[in-house]
């Protein structure tokens, strides 16, 4: 059906939302705050995402023909809807900006030592912009195809080191109570909340039976692989995690056969680039769709072009790099970000409950 994605494509969107950066820079950022309890922080982080996916999917299943804009307008008036959508759009735009910079630096770190910024940003803008302009069907189909390769790569990365992982490197957990883990989750809160993109597919998904359960289960499967990969990274690197910026790159370095076979970092490069660019495309679609609704535009092209100009200025002209971003995220964005995520979670719970109560009243 034109303008609607299949349930499977929706599961894939949820998968990308769980995966973004969580096997790349997040483990390193969390370790600097949570230390040995970093994996616990990461699990908290992922559980929050799973909760978001659960409540968003529940809302989508209950309102199969209503878009998020219509739904919010009905519930909290047009002004309220615009405010909520604007906050989410700005949140997603910031994430896009940061993920693009992260992908660029990841490629420099692992593939090219000298890599023109234009050579990265131009194709990235082209891919993300094209998919976002074409709409949900193109996004759905493209990301469905990419998801297969990302999943295979992720599994291979783990298998690559599965036999040599020491299991006790960071034991015991909770040495100083649970506070360090919570601090780790708080400091990395901008990494949480990617599932908010799913809200923009409300009314654009073909609903199937037990869709909420299937979405959550597929997200949990990806969550388990994220945890396994990050667990490998923490246990292989030990205290030397502080020297690294990209988790996936280091996992293959500890395989004793790698010195015979050569680098296996190509695997992490392929997974991460495809995964990050797919997530960027999703986010670009979501915030451009918001801008289109808010400013009553006919097409998403103008907001997309404007956002790319801002990203270009910040990343290239102001020379913001990943370290700057991580510093800002940990020190300035952690509280606003966690407030947005928890508020959204609360709003989603209230919306789901209020809907149920209304249904109950009608049935009575």
């Amino acid at each position: 059906m034109q303008g609607k994605i299949t349930a499977f494509e929706y599961y894939m969107f949820a998968m990308y939302a769980i995966l973004t950066s969580k096997v790349l820079t997040l483990p390193c950022v969390i370790y600097n705050v949570a230390g040995h309890d970093a994996i616990i922080s990461l699990i908290f982080n992922l559980l929050l995402d799973i909760l978001l996916i659960f409540f968003i999917t529940l809302l989508i299943v209950k309102n199969p023909e209503t878009t998020i804009f219509e739904f919010l307008t009905k519930k909290i008036t047009k002004v309220g809807a615009y405010i909520v959508i604007s906050i989410i759009a700005i949140f997603l735009f910031l994430k896009t900006l940061w993920i693009l910079e992260e992908t660029y630096e990841f490629l420099i770190h692992s593939l090219f030592e000298e890599f023109s910024t234009i050579s990265f940003f131009l194709p990235a803008f082209f891919i993300a912009g094209y998919m976002a302009i074409k709409g949900v069907n193109t996004l759905g189909r493209s990301l469905e195809i990419f998801a297969f390769f990302v999943a295979i790569g992720l599994v291979l990365c783990f298998i690559n080191t599965a036999g040599i992982i020491p299991l006790d490197t960071n034991l015991p957990y909770f040495r100083n109570g649970i506070m360090e883990s919570l601090q780790g989750t708080l400091s990395s809160s901008l990494y949480i909340g990617n599932p908010l993109v799913l809200l923009f597919f409300m009314g654009k998904v073909k609903i199937v039976k037990k869709m909420t359960l299937k979405t959550v289960l597929s997200s949990v499967v990806i969550m388990i692989f994220v945890i396994l990969n990050d667990f490998s990274f923490y246990n292989l690197m030990g205290n030397s995690v502080i020297y690294s910026s990209y988790a996936l790159n280091h996992i293959s370095q500890f395989n004793p056969y790698v010195s015979d076979l050569g680098h296996l970092t190509w695997l992490s490069i392929a997974i991460s680039t495809v995964n990050l660019l797919s997530q960027v495309s999703l986010m670009v679609y979501c915030y451009s769709e918001s801008a289109r609704k808010i400013f009553k535009l006919k097409m998403r092209t103008i907001p997309i072009l404007c956002s790319f100009v801002i990203i270009y200025i910040v990343c290239l002209l102001l020379h913001f790099n990943l370290t700057d971003f991580e510093y800002i995220i940990v020190n300035y964005f952690s509280y606003p970000s966690i407030i947005i995520i928890l508020s959204m979670l609360l709003i989603l719970i209230i919306l789901n409950i209020s809907r149920r109560k209304k249904n109950e009243t009608i049935s009575n």
Binding site: S110, E113, S119, P123, F126, M237
Partner: protein, 408 residues
């Protein structure tokens, strides 16, 4: 032109323009602008570092052997040395294929190794987990030796390093393990040693390193003079405590620790002086198959205790019984005398290694983490009772339980 054709043309042009920039089609070949380094050596000359790089020379592939050359650069830190190397070669230094870093004694003597290796850990340039090698000779000489054209030299360094990883003590001689160990609370890290020795020439030959478990890995190549140089790996390991080298363990001193590393392959070993009802002063030769190890910790009257249960799976290759009593179809490994003699053998070797550890104050087996993992509170209470918490290793008591098992 029809609208869809215009649209199609714009898309095709956009795709060509964007992807041609990343495809390398319009960029020069990387080998024209980059030196591909396969090994590095770090020496200290007066107060400066001297960084030597073994670089692949690009050539038309006429044989399987690659051609290498060596270049050196000096500087007050590794970054400066790299810059100096780039100035000399006229190319950027690419470390993505650098699998070995040789560090000479002169560097270890005057520097904290963390400061020296920090560059490699933080650099985007080095993306391998390079093996670290210590030498009492000049690292530059070793790299020059392994870069000679007359031998299968490109394999020598690799084989020599593999010898240690496979046969001596398999844990931790790579860059990240070294840094992890150095910044961990036990602060003990290690590198294995290679030496370049001159020997009177007996025959002109070349051989690759890595031999059986009882002999050293070594490699020789002919030279124009009457002496030939031999790159030797005698199984020595240099111990670093808090980033400074404090002691070099010989192969014999290391043997006790080797029993507690499941990756170590002893290959053939011998148990002597076996006495039992059926055996008198017997000697048994065995092939080491695998090791199963259980290490646990406990506290008794505030004394930390390590309990080691070692199960060694072996196959008997020969028995020499001094009393000529034929023992047919006898299961030697069930004999208490054999088990006791094996226990004494391991106990003696382990005690000898532990005595050195206690004397020098390092913690190669990372008992710190063992206690912290299993008895976090008691361990830190114990450390608080010590006048010098760094000397925690001295009061740890180690008990050993061994079992020899026949490998089917």
């Amino acid at each position: 032109m029809k609208p869809y054709l215009t649209k199609l043309t714009i898309i095709i042009v956009a795709v060509l323009l964007t992807f041609s920039t990343v495809s390398g089609l319009i960029a020069p070949s990387q080998t024209q602008s980059k030196s591909i380094v396969t090994a590095l050596g770090i020496d200290k000359v007066t107060d400066k570092f001297e960084l030597t790089a073994q670089i692949i020379v690009p050539q038309i592939n006429t044989s399987s052997a690659e051609k290498y050359e060596v270049a050196s650069g000096e500087g007050y830190d590794i970054g400066e040395c790299i810059a100096s190397l780039e100035f000399q070669t006229g190319e950027t230094i690419g470390l993505a294929h650098c699998f070995t870093i040789i560090i000479s004694d002169s560097v270890c003597a005057s520097n904290n190794m963390n400061d020296v290796l920090d560059y490699f850990a933080r650099s985007n340039n080095l993306c391998t987990n390079a093996i670290l090698v210590h030498t009492t000779d000049l690292a530059k000489d070793i790299l020059k030796y392994t870069t000679t054209e007359s031998s299968t030299s490109q394999d020598i360094l690799y084989d020599i390093t593999e010898y240690n990883n496979n046969k001596i003590l398999s844990f931790g001689t790579d860059l990240y393990t070294f840094l992890d160990d150095t910044i961990s609370p036990h602060s003990t890290a290690m590198m294995f040693d290679v030496t370049l020795e001159e020997e009177p020439e007996t025959s002109s030959s070349s051989s690759s390193g890595g031999s059986d478990g009882e002999t050293s890995g070594s490699s020789s190549s002919s030279s124009t003079s009457q002496t030939s140089k031999i790159l030797k790996n005698e199984g020595k390991v240099t111990i670093f405590y808090k980033g400074a080298d404090i002691y070099t363990l010989s192969k014999e001193e290391l043997k006790g620790f080797g029993w507690l590393d499941t990756g170590t392959k002893f290959e053939i070993f011998t148990i002597k002086n076996i006495y039992s009802e059926k055996l008198t002063d017997a000697t048994i030769n065995l092939i080491h198959s695998s090791t199963k190890l259980e290490i646990s910790s406990s506290f008794s009257n505030n004394v930390p205790i390590v309990q080691i249960k070692l199960k060694v799976y072996t196959k008997i290759t020969g028995v020499l019984n001094m009393v000529d009593v034929p023992v047919s179809n006898y299961n030697y490994l069930k004999d208490q005398g054999v088990q006791d003699a094996f226990h004494s053998l391991v106990q003696d070797e382990l005690q000898s290694s532990l005595d050195i550890q206690n004397e020098k104050g390092f913690d190669l087996l990372n008992f710190y983490h063992l206690f912290e993992k299993e008895h976090y509170k008691e361990w830190h209470q114990y450390l608080d009772t010590l006048d010098n918490p760094d000397a925690y290793i001295n009061k740890i008591q180690v008990f050993l339980d061994t079992e020899l098992i026949e490998k089917n």
